[in-house]
Symmetry: C2
Subunit: 436 residues, 2 copies
């Protein structure tokens, strides 16, 4: 409780920044523009930088900053009090440098979702053993403070579920596909040319980035160790323009929804292309926006929306974490001390229930719809809505239907039976209707 | 930076709770249900309570808790480490008890928006001089973490403006007026019977509660001392069902919008019934919901929405603050140490510009509309849209118009000139169109 502001005014925090990509550049710009950045009475000064290439052209001058070829050496430098890791990647130099800083008891600020989702529990144990804060606000939703909300502001509640749009690239692609009536490949190619998507887009479009983020939020919300390996992940590569149109006819928009739910059976973390009702805030969050619902037993539903990426917002989140370090909080990395985190008990996803959307082609002949209906009924799946639309020049007739709530195992069995019908011409496309 | 979790596990924080209304009851229930509440490694135990009446029937048992007739005595008790003030009111026992606790260096958690908005600067100075945290998450938006977002999560940005719906009672009344086609007095009376509105509803419907909240957010966002006296305040008592309907015809919904903006001229804090476009998230936040937009130079726009009141959410916010106290943060009460807060430089509201809605009755005779148009043009006010609707059995014809952006002084002058026209039968009703 010692809180002597006059002492704090004098305290200078020497910051080492490893990784000088978009976010690193944003952070250096921010600290250069705000030399007196002192929200907690302290002052932050960059005393060292590290990146893959020293000479790569950059929109800012690093010639006056001490350079380190090795981020681990930067983390260990006696001139660095706070280590900021913006290298990325779950292993390799990012992990080595973070471990080096924490081992010396130095606070670490990182934007690295893969690192925290995959190694969060062991890093939390190291951080707490050494008395060093480990903060990662920028890892989830960029500048929109999801991490602080869940970790700090909602600890007076029991969070039941979280669901949201956590990957701006996927949201941009899905929004453009619908708006322009374009294919996934077409929009992705354009996004890559414009620099909105990576040359290797797998992390984003494969759902892995969103899965890293929801894994972190689940750990914070439920007080369990993060367990990326337990996440169910499906990306947007298979989302067809036809499904976007059919879903819209049924009153839905397809979004990549990341969700985490806690039940008596354990925790279920999922990333799926999902149907959200058109008037739902998640359906209305377009472009590169991120959006998140948090549902707690006492608080009810909280919704937060904002930019999920970009140099400015993400660097602002890193700066907020640096300010937090200055306040010397004695708070565990996740919701509870690392040793007291509940083991992550994954729910068997086959036992989950939910509504679904199915789309498949059938032969244009009598009795087909009856056969489909009977097959679904026989598998215990009840139809909620049914849509048959003629399409020009198609081989067969596309059928789209939505189901009432059904267990995942019954749904999977029903899909297999339908796929086996003689009158069905392709493998049914299965999408979940979001429980939001 | 000392952070020895094994020591923290043993730390027990003895909590004194003054005020046992809805929120106090929610807090005692929460701590009774979660005896091990230890998100930061510490443990919270209630060691004393105080309220106006010891014997009033309550939905929970306080007979086993030490009782204090005087909240100041509770604040000073050697058995209390953290003082929770839930009495309410800007002065009187609430202020005296908070000052008593802070003077002894004890952390204070309060839900009292009036106290912080009206005396925040002097309490911050006392808190910081004594090294005691002063936290008030529950004072704004109940369980929705607006305070922590602005004070902590967004310090890496320059916030330009904040605007939102901060009073659930007003939002409920306006929503019910529109949904049921009922008058303000009718809905208010029902809300009072149901316990949704106070017997004396002035604080809520007069806009003062929302003004307290936006005053606090403005101080946090802009790093200035809170200045409740500078807030421009208009309540919803004069909102007419006719205006709600006319606004809807023009594509707007009337909401009580609280806003704070910073410009080179200073800070403008306002609470007004305002027109929000129907498809805007603020227009869509119905019932008792609270909703807030925060706009920053780097982060862009962040939107957060959730329950603004209620025992569960508000008590959860108080509990989150108690958890924060356990982490012993060395953070100033507002955005900067009390001595470094900028003086609140109020902008002259007559210089502000914005769009407006005007409604008045005119005689049903030729030339009236021309006269109104010429009068507005002469005052420098440009008409954006114009609506004339016959109403059954009315004395005269109601005219509704919206203006392009205009200075407040030109607008006021134009209203006076229109009121003076011979063909105008009543005083024009002026509402602002929200800048959101």
């Amino acid at each position: 409780m010692a809180f002597v502001m006059t002492d704090m005014d004098r305290k200078t925090w020497r910051v080492g920044v490893a990784g000088l990509g978009t976010v690193g550049a944003g952070l250096l710009n921010f600290l250069a523009e705000r030399p007196g950045f002192a929200p907690a009475g302290g002052r932050a000064v960059v005393t060292g930088v590290s990146a893959r290439s020293r000479t790569r052209p950059r929109p800012f001058d690093i010639s006056n900053l001490p350079w380190f070829d090795d981020p681990v050496a930067l983390a260990r430098s006696p001139d660095v009090d706070v280590f900021v890791e913006l290298i990325g990647g779950s292993d390799g130099p990012a992990k080595a440098a973070v471990e080096a800083a924490l081992s010396l008891g130095k606070p670490v600020v990182t934007a690295n979702k893969a690192l925290i989702a995959e190694h969060g529990a062991e890093l939390a144990a190291l951080a707490e053993a050494k008395g060093a804060p480990l903060l990662f606000e920028a890892a989830v939703m960029g500048g929109t403070p999801a991490v602080k909300m869940v970790r700090e502001a909602l600890v007076g509640d029991d969070i039941q579920s979280i669901a949201g749009i956590l990957n701006g690239t996927c949201n941009y692609i899905l929004t453009e596909m619908e708006a322009g009536g374009r294919s996934f490949a077409d929009v992705l190619g354009e996004a890559q040319r414009l620099g909105y998507a990576e040359a290797d887009p797998t992390m984003d479009v494969g759902g892995f980035d969103a899965a890293h983020k929801i894994t972190i939020l689940a750990a914070l919300a439920f007080g369990c160790a993060p367990n990326f390996a337990a996440a169910e992940i499906e990306g947007i590569e298979q989302v067809d323009l036809l499904d976007i149109r059919m879903a819209r006819d049924l009153g839905y928009r397809i979004k990549l929804v990341a969700s985490a739910e806690r039940s008596e059976d354990g925790v279920l973390v999922r990333v799926h292309p999902s149907l959200a009702p058109l008037d739902h805030p998640l359906a209305q969050a377009g472009g590169a926006l991120n959006a998140l619902f948090i549902e707690g037993r006492r608080i009810g539903r909280i919704f937060v929306q904002g930019p999920g990426a970009g140099a400015g917002p993400t660097a602002a989140a890193v700066a907020a974490d640096i300010a937090d370090v200055m306040t010397a909080p004695q708070r565990p990395v996740f919701q509870a001390p690392a040793g007291a985190l509940e083991p992550f008990k994954a729910v068997d996803p086959s036992k989950m229930t939910g509504r679904a959307y199915l789309r498949f082609l059938v032969k244009d002949e009598p009795g087909v719809i009856a056969a489909v209906s009977e097959t679904l009924a026989g598998a215990g799946v009840s139809i909620e809505s049914f849509l048959q639309k003629p399409t020009e020049g198609a081989q067969g007739v596309p059928i789209v239907l939505t189901t009432h709530a059904v267990t995942e195992s019954a749904l999977t069995a029903a899909v297999e039976r339908i796929a086996g019908l003689e009158a069905v011409l392709d493998r049914p496309r299965l999408l979940r209707i979001a429980r939001i």
